[in-house]
Amino acid sequence: MPKLSLMFEGKVVKEVPIGNRPITIGRSPDNDLPVDNLAVSNHHARVYYEGARLVVEDLDSLNGTFVNDLRVERATLHDGDSIHVGKHYVKVDASHDAPVPYDMGRKAAAPAINETMVLDTKVRREMLQQAAAMGERTQFASGRIKVPTIVVLSGSTASKEYVLTNRLTTIGKSTMATVRLTGWFKPQMAAQISQRDDGYYIGPGDKIPTVNGTPIPGPVRLNDGDLIEVCRVRMNFIFRD
């Protein structure tokens, strides 16, 4: 079976076989290959099979992942490659007979799940409950329903409070904008808030908004209580009970 060997100063520190599950590399002890070095991020990179290809993927680490000294975000691995994280390196040994493709492993573990299937309502409820029981982060499942709300603190808008009900909320002068700016020289679409599965993200439109005083040129996840400012309108993003 192909394997990864974590090396430090020429010695093998740990070896793991590469099977169906992704191998994680990082500083935190819950990784398959824990690397105790401050230059390494908690969850630094992962290695897994995609079809028959072995792939390494950097998990937005601070100092980067290097394959044969080239910094990569994602790269296909070959036998003998070395992955550098901090001062350690991981040797790729894919020479041992044919690798077990990730997909084949999945089929063996859970037949037919590779094919798209639809759950009927009863099975679905059971599966979600099971998953909830296994997961630790169940605060959303059991807690009160929180309503994402924009409260206007200062500046001219059509209303003082907006509940975010759509996948996409626009802030601007347009008559169809959710948070409607009033007054002269305001852009039609100043900024936008989009709902994703894991939360709400604000991003620029014709203007670059600030969140808690920091300008944000790209999407940033909003947290309860964040202060948003765009076009001299100050708003609070809060989750109402």
Binding site: R106, Q192, D197, D198, G203
Partner: protein
């Protein structure tokens, strides 16, 4: 606004048949995409039937606005949004009926994601795990929620988005057309602005190509058809584990504003169409 659309589909590198289906009805600015499932060739039947039904129902409604609405779409929505929802309900009914009449088709189903643009108003109707995206000001935003088990688990905070990407349950859908006599249809209405780019795609794209890669490609390739083809190439390079279908729609300002020559790039925008911007 001027609207340019393109679309492409590919079997991918692993599957032997293509169960995806899409249609661009350019004169109506209607864009429909479906990903079928079911053994043998039945996934193909389901997705083709889904797309066919939606297009036909919307076209009929254009000539006969009094045509009946299926599935009681809410009154507060625009006519286009209501018509799309109605069309998706009808598609569900047709696939379900076909599977009942032909026992060998039993278990077939399809996702469906459709967009209809009317002036600057976008209506989206959606069931399943195909996706609609909007690229605006460099930000790629998903306009639809995946009706998959893992997406539901992320929404409930049971697993993280990263865990969902690694899960081997990604193919498990909670909702699809044709598997139940009734279906719940999601809908969304949005205002569109010049330079917006819309994307419809099957999960064969989104499981193989990351959102930053998608956004980058849509920004770099201004011709919608070429953008579709490029996205398919990337998905195949990354493994092509499933069928890949992509529809890209670009919106541009209709008339040259009086001051457009003042804006950086204003002239280029006013004069270019879908094919002139390629580089």
């Amino acid at each position: 606004m001027r609207i340019f659309g393109g679309g492409a589909t590919d079997v991918g590198r692993v599957r032997s048949n293509n169960e995806d289906c899409f249609r661009l009805v350019q004169p109506m600015n209607l864009f429909v995409l479906s990903d079928g499932m079911g053994g043998e060739a039945h996934g193909e039947i389901a997705s083709a039937l889904a797309v066919e039904t939606v297009v036909k129902h919307c076209m009929e409604a254009e000539t006969n606005p009094a045509a009946p609405f299926y599935g009681n779409p809410p009154d507060k929505l625009s006519t286009h949004a209501k018509r799309l929802i109605s069309a998706v309900h009808l598609a569900n009914r047709n696939i379900y009926k076909s599977a009942e009449e032909h026992p060998e088709q039993s278990g077939m189903g399809a996702t469906l994601t459709a967009m209809w643009i009317d002036g600057n108003a976008l209506s989206v109707a959606h069931v399943g795990d195909s996706r609609a995206y909007l690229l605006r000001s460099g930000m790629l935003q998903q306009l639809t929620s995946d009706h998959s088990l893992v997406a539901e688990q992320v929404r409930r905070g049971i697993i993280s988005a990263t865990e969902a990407e690694q899960s081997d349950m990604q193919s498990v859908l909670l909702r699809a057309l044709g598997t139940q006599p009734q279906v719940e249809v999601d809908s969304e209405e949005q205002e569109l602005f010049p330079r917006d780019v819309l994307l419809l795609c099957s999960d064969g794209l989104t499981r193989m190509v990351t959102e930053p890669e998608i956004a980058g490609t849509l920004q770099a390739e201004t011709d919608p058809q070429k953008a579709c083809e490029r996205l398919i190439v990337i998905a195949n390079e990354n493994g092509g584990a499933d069928n890949i279908s992509v529809v890209v729609v670009r919106l541009e300002n209709e008339s040259k504003s009086w001051f457009s020559w003042l804006r950086p790039g204003g002239r280029k925008h006013a004069g270019s169409n879908g094919s002139a911007g390629g580089h």
